[in-house]
């Protein structure tokens, strides 16, 4: 599969070329944000950095301080769906270039991606070491009062592999797979369980 190299912050012209199903390799500056950051931003909290075009990464990393410098120990994605009640508003108000996490997001986020020009990038859940290796630097930390996993970490990443699963044209691989699996589930329900040797 051909891989598209993209830079964060993302330019609107680049976002427009990304399609659901595209493999991308991400380089640049990204900001982590999970539950506390989302409720904070959605309730009108001021973003500590300009999020325009940036990738917001749903991630609660493990970080330690070594010789006065932050060191990322592990940094895989968290489940994005928990941020569904807040994400559309954040996309509308703060114009990030991409949302990155795992498991995909819902209808409201999909609509906001189409309206304001944003994409959803899926990275592999649990692959914390593989992904941590692609983080080259910790630029800083904001909103530290939310706790270490929930703070906003500004990171530099290099060649981080991700898959575009929701694009700016309203397409979502997650909803396609959900529909297909629903059909399979109904088919499975048609064949009830038989106790072997009993029925």
């Amino acid at each position: 599969m051909a891989v598209k190299h993209i830079l964060s912050p993302l330019e609107p012209s680049v976002i427009a070329t990304l399609n659901a199903g595209d493999m991308v390799s991400l380089t640049g500056r990204i900001a982590t944000g999970r539950d506390r950051v989302h409720t904070y931003l959605a309730s009108g909290g001021k973003p500590p950095v300009d999020l325009t075009g940036l990738v917001i990464y749903h991630c609660g990393p493990v970080v330690i301080k070594e010789n006065d410098r932050w060191k990322i120990i592990a940094a895989g994605p968290t489940t994005s769906m928990r941020e569904e009640p807040y994400e559309a508003q954040i996309i509308a108000g703060l114009h990030p270039g991409a949302i990155m996490g795992k498991g995909g997001m819902g209808e409201d986020t999909s609509k906001a991606c189409a309206t304001y020009g944003c994409v959803y990038l899926q990275v592999t859940g649990g692959a914390a070491q593989y992904l941590a290796q692609r983080i080259t630097r910790v630029e800083g930390v904001y909103l530290a009062e939310f706790g270490q996993p929930e703070a906003m970490w500004i990171l530099n990443v290099e060649n981080l592999p991700a898959l575009v699963t929701m694009d700016s044209k309203g397409r979502s691989l997650h909803s396609l797979i959900r529909e297909e699996s629903f059909k399979q589930l109904q088919a499975a329900y048609a064949h009830p369980f038989m106790k072997e040797g009993h029925d």
Binding site: A74, T79, G103, G125, G126, A127, Y130, L131, H174, L185
Partner: protein, 292 residues
């Protein structure tokens, strides 16, 4: 038991649980990788998973950044040793959190403050079971993403046309897999409890996750149900991380508990591919003499 040896043992047990994927799960993931289509997203995803697991094994750093909330079962003679074991577990948790082998995963809901050391009200969960034999400590680190996908059904349930029988149970477990999609980090492992009450159901379902994937249920009918659900779940095409494919679950482990005549619960503990659990047997002095 010697306090210092016991501390070292609990440190080693928890560190290993956070950083080394159990062998049976690694083998299942390798098999899944070979079974998925070459060049497809499912195989690509499993490749990244295997590479990351291998890295964490080499570096002895966390397999997943979500190191869960620690759950432990201690089987020991009911004497004062159990207090020493609990203290050793707490000490090990504090050290490992400080070193970044465990993430700061305990938030006090009344103040919204992270306690910073993974110790808080009713955290960690350490369960003691009186046992006449060598002391055994089992530890599980289960991530919050998969914990959120765990669920409990009360039968009969009209929406699934699930009655109070094993077919009803099958419908519930498959529904849980469908509802989770990729959000619990598929391919998942399902621990299930049929029966019990609302509290015991969740604990016993989780306890099933300690069974290795190759373990066959001693009950023929439950073994058959486990096989059926496993095969059928993989036909749902949800795939690794919910991006489609043949591998949606790696294993299904079902236990039972007696039920009140009015109650029929099916509890599904959904665990991610990175299911982290180990059991260590301790010598009389407190060092690890065997991994189970």
């Amino acid at each position: 038991m010697e306090t210092s040896l016991l501390r070292e043992s609990m440190y080693e047990l928890i560190r290993r649980t956070s950083t080394v994927l159990p062998q049976d799960i690694l083998q299942a993931l390798q098999g899944a990788y070979r079974s998925e289509d070459e060049g497809g997203i499912a195989r690509e995803t499993l490749g990244i998973i295997l590479e990351s697991a291998s890295l964490s094994n080499e570096t002895r750093l966390p397999l997943c950044q979500d190191t869960g909330a620690l759950l432990a079962f201690v089987q020991a003679r009911p004497d004062s040793t159990v207090f020493l074991i609990e203290d050793a577990i707490h000490d090990a948790i504090r050290s490992l959190t400080h070193e970044g082998i465990l993430r700061q995963n305990c938030v006090d809901p009344s103040t919204e403050k992270n306690t910073g050391d993974n110790i808080g009200p009713s955290v960690p969960q350490v369960h003691f079971e009186p046992h006449d034999g060598p002391t055994r400590v089992s530890v599980m680190l289960k991530g919050g993403g998969s914990e959120n996908m765990s669920t409990q059904y009360s039968l009969p349930l009209q929406s699934l046309q699930a009655g109070r029988d094993l077919e009803g149970v099958r419908r519930c477990i498959l529904d849980a897999v469908y509802q989770a999609q990729g959000q619990g980090c598929a391919p998942g492992i399902l621990g299930v409890c049929i029966g019990g009450d609302r509290a015991s159901g969740y604990l016993l379902a989780k306890r099933q996750l300690f069974r290795t994937l190759d373990d066959t249920n001693p009950s023929p009918v439950l073994a058959s149900l486990e096989r059926t659900v496993h095969t059928t779940a993989n036909q749902l095409s949800i795939g690794p991380m919910g991006l489609g494919g043949k591998t949606t679950v790696l294993g299904v482990k079902i236990g039972i508990a007696g039920r009140h005549p009015a109650c029929y619960y099916v509890t599904v503990s959904y665990s991610c591919w990175a299911t982290r659990r180990y059991t260590a047997e301790l010598s009389g002095k407190g060092d690890i003499c065997r991994w189970l």
